[in-house]
Structures are given as C-alpha cells and as structure tokens.
C-alpha cells in the first residue's frame, strides 16, 4: 500500500461519504453549542470536492489536497471553510509534488495543517475546537513515524485514533474560541463538532489505505 494519488482520491471520496453519513450528528452537536450548520456545511463542501474529482483526476496527492483546499474555502463558509481550506492548503505544500507520501511526510503534513488552523483561528489546545483533535493526531503520527515500529497504515491509524480521543476529550472543556465560546460554562458537557469532523477526516484516511 502506498499513499499515492489514487489513495488521495479514495480518501476524499470516503470523507464525502462520512460527512453525508454524519451530517445529522454534526448538526445536532452544533445545535447544542453553536448554530446548527456544521453538518450541512461540511456535507455541501465535500460533495463539491466529489464533483471536482469527477471533472478531473489529480496526478499527485498534493494536487488532490490543493484542489480540496480551494473547494472547501469557496463552498463551506462559516469558520470551518477557511479553517479546513487552510489546513488542506498547508498539507498540500508539505507533501509537495511527490508521487507518494512517506510516513514521516504524513506527520509533517498533519503538523502543517494543524499550524495553519492555529494561525487562522488563533485557538490553542484546550479551547474546545478542532485544534483539540489535530494536536494529539500530529503528536501520535510523529511518534509512530519516528519510532519506526509502525508501518504506513500504523501511522494513519495512530493519527485517527488520537484525533477521535481528542474529540471525546473536548466534552468537559469550556469553549474559548468560536461560537460555542458565547456560552461560557454552558458549553461544558458537549462535544465540539469541529473536532468530530476533523476525526472523521483522519479516520477516512485510514479507510482509504486499508
């Protein structure tokens, strides 16, 4: 198994499937502490990515990531559009023109994506945002890639599992960024929708490689 353009296309296709399947769940999470639009916006954005993939096939993983960035930025709206757009754009830059992504490059790409999200959204770990899924994912991917014990799939799995755990760990947090922050303490006891959609994206990366 290699992380080539074919894998990237499958990954993005699985992302679109995941957003459609979890659309209502994301809307419900957002209803509790936001404004009920996250699932709708992510579904619309990845359906647009799917449509782009139907028009032309990217030749490298980097090209697929860049196309995704531009599409999400122009179709999603809200905070998620610019944040995910920046994340995919930074990841695209990190993987460059390479035909295949190496394990350590995947960790670099995730770190670049996370740094992009932080730069645009100004959120820190613990603010109850998607950063709380991305940061543990970056750390886990880095550790797995550097440790050398994990194969390519192992690195993808480590990132996805860490993102999922990170999303669950947002439950007790009090939001300090984004729309949930208006609720203050009332935001505790709810899971951050952006962290959940981030984990879905990283889980789809595993599915595409399996």
């Amino acid at each position: 198994m290699v992380l080539d353009a074919g894998w990237a296309v499958k990954w993005l296709t699985l992302c679109a499937q995941a957003m459609a399947e979890h659309r209502v769940e994301l809307i419900e999470l957002d209803r509790a502490i936001g404004d009920s639009d996250h699932g709708e916006n992510m579904d619309r954005g990845f359906q647009a990515v799917l449509a782009k993939l139907g028009e032309s096939t990217p030749e490298t993983p980097g090209a697929a990531l860049k196309m995704t960035a531009m599409t999400l930025m122009s179709k999603v709206g809200g905070a998620a559009g610019p944040l995910y757009g920046t994340a995919f754009l930074r990841a695209a830059t990190a993987v460059g023109d390479a035909a295949e992504i190496e394990p350590s490059t995947w960790a670099d790409a995730l770190a670049a994506a996370r740094d992009g999200i932080v730069a645009r959204g100004k959120a820190e770990p613990g603010d109850k945002t998607m950063v709380d899924a991305w940061t543990p994912a970056v750390d886990a991917a880095r550790a797995a890639a550097d440790g050398g014990s994990a194969d390519l799939l192992g690195v993808l799995v480590a990132a996805a599992e860490a993102a999922e755990a990170g999303a669950v760990a947002t439950d007790p947090l009090i939001a300090r960024k984004g729309r949930a922050s208006y609720l203050g303490e009332r935001s505790a006891g709810h899971r951050d929708p952006g962290a959940v959609s981030s984990a879905l994206i990283l889980r789809a990366a595993v599915g595409a490689a399996a």
Binding site: I27, R31, I33, G34, D35, S36, D37, E40, N41, R44, M73, S74, K75, V76, G77, G78, A79, A80, G81, P82, L83, R120, G121, I174, A175, R176, K177, G178, R179, S181, Y182, L183, G184, R186
Partner: protein, 333 residues
Amino acid sequence: MKKLINDPRSVVEEAVQGFGLAYAELVTVSEDPTYITRKDAPVAGKVGLVSGGGSGHEPLHAGYVGKGMLDAAVPGAVFTSPTPDQILPATEAVNSGAGVVHIVKNYTGDVLNFETAAELAEAEGISVRTVLVNDDVAVEDSLYTAGRRGVGGTVLVEKIAGAAAERGDDLDAVAAVAEKVNANVRTMGVALSACTVPHAGTPSFDLADDEIEIGIGIHGEPGRHKIPMENADSITNRLLEPVLADLGITAGDKVLLFVNGMGGTPLSELYIVYRRAVQVLAEAGATVERSLVGNYITALEMQGCSITVLRLDDQMTELWDAPVHTAALRWGM
C-alpha cells in the same frame, strides 16, 4: 417544522431571487456567486460599502442595499458566513477606485472569510478597510471568548457609514465614522422562543413555555442564561441595564434608541418595550433624540427582541438623518 419553503437547500437562492424581483428598481442580483449590488454600482468617486453574513437575518443585509447605505450585500447559507468567492466579486463590483469598506459582524466565520476576500482584493489593487461590529454586551468575558458579537448595532453602522460614503467622504473618513458608531453602540437581546434552521428542522435550542433566554445573539444560539418568564417592563429593565452600564450613559447624553424584533414578535410588543426603555433612559437623564422600532436584524422566526442604544453626537445625528432609499429603510428621498 412548518415553513413557507420549497426545499430547505434552496431557501437562500429562492429568497434572493424573490428579493431581486421585488426591488428590481433598487438592486441587481448576481446568482452565482450570490451577491446583491445597488442598481447604479459602482458609483463614480464614491467609497463602496460591502456587508454580508449568514442568511436568516432579513432584512439584513440585502434590505439595506441602495442609495445612502450599502453598495453590496453578500448572503451566505442560513446562519453561515458567505465565502471569499462571493465577497471578492461583490467588492470588485462596487469599487469605483475610491476603495471599499467591509462591514463585518464579529463572528469567527465572517471574520475569516472577509479577511481572505480583503487580502485577495488588496492583491488586485483595491484598497479595503474592514470595520468589525461587536456591540453585544451579553458576551461578558472577551478574553475567553471569540469576542463580542455584532448584532443590532450593525444596522446603525451601515446607515451612518452609508450616509458618509454617499456624501463623498473618503475611505479613511468612512471607516472612521463606522468605527465611531461601533464604539458608541451597545445591544442586548432576549428570546421567548428558539428558531428553526430550515436544513436542521428542529428548534435551535430548548426553551420551556415559561422560560426565556437572556443575552441571545442572532443565530438561535443559546444566550447568557435562562430565567423564568417576566413581564415586558422587567425584561426591558434587564436588557437595558447592562447596555447603559457598558456605554457609561450619564445625564445629558443624547441617544438613538433601537428596539429590534427577532422575527416572530408583533410590533405592538416592541412598542411596549420601547415605551419602558424611554422611561429607563429618562431616569438615567438621557434624551432619546432618534428612534427605530421594528424587525431590522432578525433570527428567522424567533420570538424576542434586542435593545440597542447609540450615544449620538452631531455628526452621527446628521448622517442618520441623511436621505436613504433601500428596501427596508427609506426616508428623505
């Protein structure tokens, strides 16, 4: 959910089409990407004023496109900010060379999308100034939040900055007067019921029959806290107190009092709130010099209202009184 719609996914598209047909003499509608410009845009030598944000707040923003107010409005999906690929062409369409002011309500999504569009416009050689509106006193601790939201004050910023642009003020002057309005305006809102986003299909928060939500924004998000239902005078006191305290209203101040309906409250109830608000301001020694009462920045069919107070000076009063001709505000022409 009962709504006068055809398909939850085409609500914005069809509403914008209808708006364009109803006000064809005032505006031009671009459907893809979606934005609305005043009929005679770009107006030679005039600073362009662009605002936008999620849909569901009608008449904001499209209802304020026209002479003496906005040059363009950019509607996103319901309660979702528009995207840079809408904001940029709207900015281009109203740029006469005198530059463009973006009036942005302070929400993370709106800020990020307008920021990106402004960067792209600057790269094309268009001078853009961004004015953030953040008048909502319900958001208390700004260090630990995304900052105060832009709510009722937005309408006043758009009217007054629009008048400044219409009379020929330059880019810096228009941005400065918009900043001045924002610095002198505060708002607090209440919901008696939640609203239902069409594609979500269920009310945006749960509220019992005998409860109200104090400190709401305009997106059906829950507010500062829930309390048992009270009468109109008590609710008015409760909303106005933090507004006046935050503005530091003192005896002799002249103000514009704006009682806004959230979409599902009859005007008669807004007048009852207005009546009490005037009494409270009089007790504080302030004089209500100008007023606005009605549904001007809404949250779909939410029941409730917001109270906005703007501390006036001669410049702002003169610009408020200047002629305006838009779908939702019209006087003097």
